[in-house]
Amino acid sequence: MTTIGPGYHLPTFVVDEVSGEHIRQVALILDDPNPIHFDLAAVAAAGMGTREINQGGSTMAYIVNMITAWTGSRSALKRIKCRFRDNVRAGDTVTAGGVILEVTGRGATRRALCEVWADRGDGCRVIDGTAIVLIPETSQSA
């Protein structure tokens, strides 16, 4: 049984290489016309490099994946707030991580306040934020 408490690091979630095709698929689903997600000429014109820019929401979704994998449920996330600090581009590696700051409640309502982040492969923290997560009942408090 896993002991959960302040300082506990959530198992990370890694995307080895962000795919330009996935970026395009998300742009379609979002109905997002922002050309920096699919038009390399527009990326260059904006002074943002030579590769497609991943949607901030997609990088945020990797953090959500981390939480879902840890808790085993998509209903465990209660709140997440993220600040977008830098860009992720096609080809980048992204690692989503988190650490518990505080545990409150008991039983089925036990929840953790977590610091969460997403780091690019070069070590740059592209997203930082917090999340409130219902703790799996298979774990015990520290």
Binding site: V26, G57, A61, N65, S73, R74, F84
Partner: protein, 153 residues
């Protein structure tokens, strides 16, 4: 010669946006899961990825991204960026369900970034209601859209 956009109209704050109805289509949910490297819902198999709150918030403002940009007087030389995003998931979203959204602009702001760029922002809150159980909100999304002003030449 550098020209600047005038500061955003403060009367934008408090403006209600039209809102919309959005269905989480099963095929779009599956493609989103694939594109986001997400496993299918490990719990019930029917819950959508929580990022669908953000997807529905973007699609459910009732105005397009281009129209939002027009409110902020975005020019060709300006860049739209995502500042912050907060999701309150009261209930998980369900694949195949339809959600009604209400939306409003909470605030407008201008600041200068460390590199001297002018950043205008719009904060928008979108609240989601399941049309199958419309009385209680299932969640809300508050997003800050940043407009980095470019320089005209």
């Amino acid at each position: 010669m550098t020209t600047l956009v005038e500061e955003l109209d403060p009367n934008l704050a408090g403006r209600q946006l039209p809102g919309d109805l959005t269905t989480i289509a099963r095929h779009q949910s599956a493609i989103a899961d694939h594109a986001l490297h997400a496993e299918t819902d490990p719990d019930t198999g029917e819950y959508a990825h929580s990022i669908w709150f953000l997807i529905i918030a973007l699609r459910g403002m009732g105005i397009s991204v281009d129209e939002l940009c027009a409110l902020a007087e975005k020019r060709e030389s300006d860049t739209l960026l995502f500042g912050t995003c907060g999701i309150d998931q009261i209930q998980p979203l369900v694949v195949g369900h339809t959600y009604r959204t209400t939306a409003s602009i909470d605030s407008v702001n201008r600041r200068t970034s460390k590199d001297g760029s002018i950043l205008d922002s719009l904060t928008v809150t979108v609240t989601l209601f399941d049309t199958g159980a419309p009385s209680e909100a299932v969640g809300a999304v508050t997003s800050v859209y940043l407009f980095k002003r470019g320089q005209d030449h």
